[in-house]
Every structure is written in C-alpha cells, then in structure tokens.
Amino acid sequence: MSLSTVETLSSRTTGSQDASIVSIAKKNARVSRYMVSPSVLVLLLWMIVPLSMTIYFSLIRYNLLYPGENEFVGFENYEFFLTDEGFFAGMGNTLLLVGFTLLITVVLGVLISVLVNKAFWGRGIVRVMLISPFFIMPTVNALVWKNLLLHPVSGVFAAVWTFFGAEPIDWFTHYPLTAIIMIVSWQWLPFAILILMTALQSLDQEQQEAARLDGAGPWALFYHITLPHLARPIAVVVMIETIFLLSIFAEIFTTTGGGPGYETTNLAYLIYSQALLQFDVGLASAGGLIAVLLANIAAFFLVRMIGKNLTEA
C-alpha cells in the first residue's frame, strides 16, 4: 500500500465524512429494525392465536362426540385433568424420559467425543457412523428398535441374551419406559457427539501439551482441561435436547401407544390421546395449557442456568 492511499483512507474517516457515516448507520439501524419484525411477527402470531384459542376451549365444555353443548364450565376441565391418574403418570414419565435421556446422551457423548478426538485409522468413517442415527426419522427409529432389535422372539437383543444363556426380555411388556428411553437416547446421542466433537476441535493443544509436560495424567487432563472446555457445549446440548425431549411423541405413538396402562404416557401423549382419541377438546386444552405452563417453568430455569451463558458471545 502506498503512502498516498493510506492518507486518503485516513482522511475519509475524518471530518465531514463522520456525519454521513453516522447518518448511514442510523438509517441502517432503522432498516434493520424492520428486518427483525417478520420473524417476531410470525412467531408472535404462532404463539398468541392458537394459545388464546386453547385458553378459550379449556374453559368450556367441548367434546366432539357431543356437539352443541359448549357451555362455560370455568376451571372444571383443569380440575379433571389435574386429578386424572394419567396426569401424575404423565408428569413422572416425562421427567424420567427427559432426565435419563439427557444423562445417557451427555455422559456417553462426552466419553465418545473424547475418544474419537484422538487420531486413529479410519476416523472419518467412525465419525460418519457415530452421527448417522441423527438422520433417522423417529418413526423409523422406533419401529426398527421395536421389531428388529427388541422383539422378544426374533430380535437381535433376544439372540444376544440367549447366546449368553439368559432368558430374553420382553422389553415392551415388562420395561416399556426403559425401551423408550433406549430408543430416544440412541436417536439423540449423535447430536451430543456432534456438538461436543466440534467443541473439542477448538481445544487448545498447547495447553494440553504443557499440562502433560507438567506431569498431569490423562484423568487430570480430562478433569481439569477437557471438561471445563466442554461446559458451554454441554449446556447447549442440554438446552436443545430438553426442548425436543419435552414433547417426544412419534416414538411413543408408533411403539406402545402410551401403554401398557399409563406406563409410557408422557404429557404430550396424554393430551394427544384426550383430544384425538377421546375427543374431549376442552380437557385436552386444559392439559395443553398446563403443559405449556410446565414447559415455561422448565424454560425459565434453563434460560437462567444457561441462556445468559449462551448470548454472551
């Protein structure tokens, strides 16, 4: 760069140019405000319109089997929903499903991503295999696990059990929720691996090397360097997975239909079955609002816990 261009460049940013830059920036800021609005607007509509309808439905009697009887019933639907035995089962199952899946995917995800972060032969193929389940649609996932893997007679698990001289387990009869947790964990483990693997790539190698020279063992390295580095990505995994796991539906729909009894009914499935199997829209709406409320409580804590961390880029 010649001296004269430097001079022109520096002169451009001084004096009268300043004013025009400020005005351009102001104009752009104004334009930019209009650019957020489509997103905000559609999401606002998406939230407010159906939600207010749900509130209205939850306060009236509204059963598709008895049309025309839509009188105002106050909080009767809520009372019904909250005292229904399905509600506590649904709550419990939702918590178990989300909690155990998070635990399994995060713990295994950390271990596996640390493992494949080392160099070895065929790492590319290993990675592809590890993240593949993420591309499988939940309905396929559920049916393959139910019929090909967990089937008590012809499933692969049964064969393995028999091979070791054990009695094959009828998963969906005796441990239905465990089976669902296995299915869902298999689906979401790749997501954890994907994010944690990306994060490990930015781990400071020199820092690790220095620690190693200082005599830190592999466990100390993992605990003091790797794990703290993964704190943020783990928070991201927990947050995104929670969002999706709270409303797990297809896996239950295609395997157990919520049963036996209420054993695999989560809140999402409970409300679905009331609305579309029992046609009680009023009750389902009350349930939907309670689910929204609970999700908001969860969201509040999640955002408190990690949201602050995330936007501080």
Binding site: Q17, I21, I24, N28, S32, R33, M35, V36, P38, S39, L43, M47, P50, L51, T54, L115, F120, W121, G122, R123, I125, R127, V128, M129, L130, S132, P133, F135, I136, M137, P138, T139, V140, L143, V144, W145, N147, V153, S154, F163, W186, I195, P233, A235, I243, S247, F249, A250, F253, T254, T255, L267, I271, A284, A291, V292, N296, G307, T311, A313
Partner: protein
C-alpha cells in the same frame, strides 16, 4: 540408551493409537448397528427376517422393494417430504437471515431477550396448540396440504435458524461491515455481498439442520396430513400396525425413507461437524 527409550515410547504410542482405534471402531459399529441391520433385513425374505437366531448371512432378494412400490406410492410421499423440507427451509432462511443480521449488528437492549423469547416459543409443547391449529387448518382448507405443513415447519424451525445464523454473524467483525457501509453499500448489498459470503459455512449448516429436522418431523405430519400431503414419516407410521409378519417390508420402506437424508447427511457431515456449534465454542 536414549534411543531405545524413544523407540519404546514410540511403540507405546503406536499401541495406544491401536487400542483407541479398536475401541472407537467397536463403539461406532455398535451405534451404527441398528441402521446396518435395518438395511440388511430389507434384503431378506420375510421368513429369513423372522428367523431365530437372526441371520447375518442369507440370499439377498429385492422382492420387498418391489412390493413396497405396489402397496404404496413411495415417490408420492418422498416428493411431499422434499417439497415441504426445502420449502420451509427456504422461507425460513429468508425470514431468519435478516432478523439475525440486525440482531447481531444492531444490538439494542431488547435483542437478547427477543432472542431468548424466540427460543422459548420452541419450548411450547406442540400438543398445547394442536387442537386450535387443527381447527384453523380445517377452516382455511389447509388440512392435508403441503402448504399447511410448510408453514408449520417454517414456524417451528425459525427460532433455531435465527439463533444459529445470529451466532455465525456474531463472529464477523463489525469493522468489515462498516467498511462496506463507508463505500456506500446499502443494507441489501451489505448482506448479499459481504455477510453471506463470509458466513457461507455457518449458514450451510443452518440449512442442513433445518432440512434434517423438517424431513424427520413426525408430530405435525402425523396429525395434520392424511394422504395427499403425507410425507415419509407418515408413510412409515402407516406400517406400524402389523398385519402378520412383514418386517422385511418394513425395513425396506424404512430404508427408502431414510436413504435420501442419510446420504445427504453423510456427504455434508464435515460441514455439520464444523458448523453445528450453536455459539458454544468461542
């Protein structure tokens, strides 16, 4: 003395690499096994598919694939999946990129809370609004239409798209945009000429994730479509009530349903691995 020490160190390193390799391959094969098994089963006869113990070696047959095409029109469902996934991703990007741009470069006091609020709309369990959406769709004639499903997918993926794009834009130094602005670039030029080329990789991962999520979405597609607009997820669910033994056929239809997105994912996995950080890595 020193030489032999280095040599043994080298050897132990090599041994370590070997052990790690074997271990990693075992884990990967275990995790990949269900997919492999599904593909294998799809080439078995129904009798082989139900055999105990399960057979690893068998005479492959294509009859399941032929039967699938007779029983249900695979391409009809596949086309619906393609249209809805790509449609919602394109519309979503058109809305999300400008929003992320202004949030990343013209931050106000409200920006962070807006972003978190957007994410919180994803926390709403879809069942909470299923009935109203169903009724609205009925009134507007959107039930079982690709348009309706596209609208829904756009809305449910929008928050994640805005967030991802926002984190990528955040990494671009403001000075670059200011330089373009000084040269008299308009907002549109700024985005199109400077921002998009600089965040190509990140935006590509955003597009990828949106495609994957839309392709595999199964709540709204099961509840809002019947046949005309039903995507592949709904086709699979229709195979969930068994009429006798038909696992080979189930595997074949599942393989067909997953193959496009799986291959797509494999091709773009490098991009995904690099780009899917959600701003988690500084």
């Amino acid at each position: 003395m020193i030489n032999s020490n280095i040599l043994s160190l080298k050897n132990s390193r090599r041994l370590n690499t070997l052990i790690i390799g074997v271990f990693a391959w075992t884990v990967a094969l275990l995790i990949f096994f269900p997919i492999l098994w599904m593909i294998l089963t799809s080439f078995k006869t129904e009798i082989d598919a139900f055999a105990t113990p399960p057979q690893l070696f068998f005479t492959p047959t294509l009859e399941n694939y032929a039967l699938i095409n007779e029983r249900s029109d695979y391409f009809h469902f596949a086309w619906n999946s393609v249209v809805v996934s790509f449609g919602s991703t394109i519309i979503g990007m058109l809305i999300a990129v400008p929003a992320a741009y202004s949030m990343a470069f013209f931050e106000t006091r409200r920006t962070k809370s807006t972003l978190l609020w957007m994410l919180s709309t994803k926390m709403l369990p879809p069942v909470g609004v299923l009935v109203p959406i169903y009724l609205l769709f009925k009134d507007f004639g959107l039930l079982d239409t690709r348009t309706g499903l596209t609208v829904i997918y756009t809305l449910i993926n929008l928050p994640i798209m805005v967030w991802m794009a926002y984190t990528y834009f955040k990494e671009i130094p403001k000075e670059v945009l200011e330089a373009a602005r000084m040269d008299g670039a308009t907002v549109a030029q700024e985005i199109y000429r400077v921002l998009l080329p600089m965040s190509k990789g990140g935006l590509a991962s955003t597009v990828l994730l949106s495609l994957i999520l839309s392709w595999n979405e199964a709540f709204w597609s099961l509840n809002l479509t019947a046949s005309a607009a039903a995507p592949l997820t709904a086709l699979i669910a229709s195979y969930s009530s068994p009429e006798g033994l038909f696992w080979a056929k189930l595997s074949a239809v599942s393989t067909l349903a997953c193959a496009p997105i799986l291959i797509f994912g494999w091709i773009s996995q490098k991009q995904l691995v690099r780009g899917l950080s959600f701003g988690a890595v500084k």
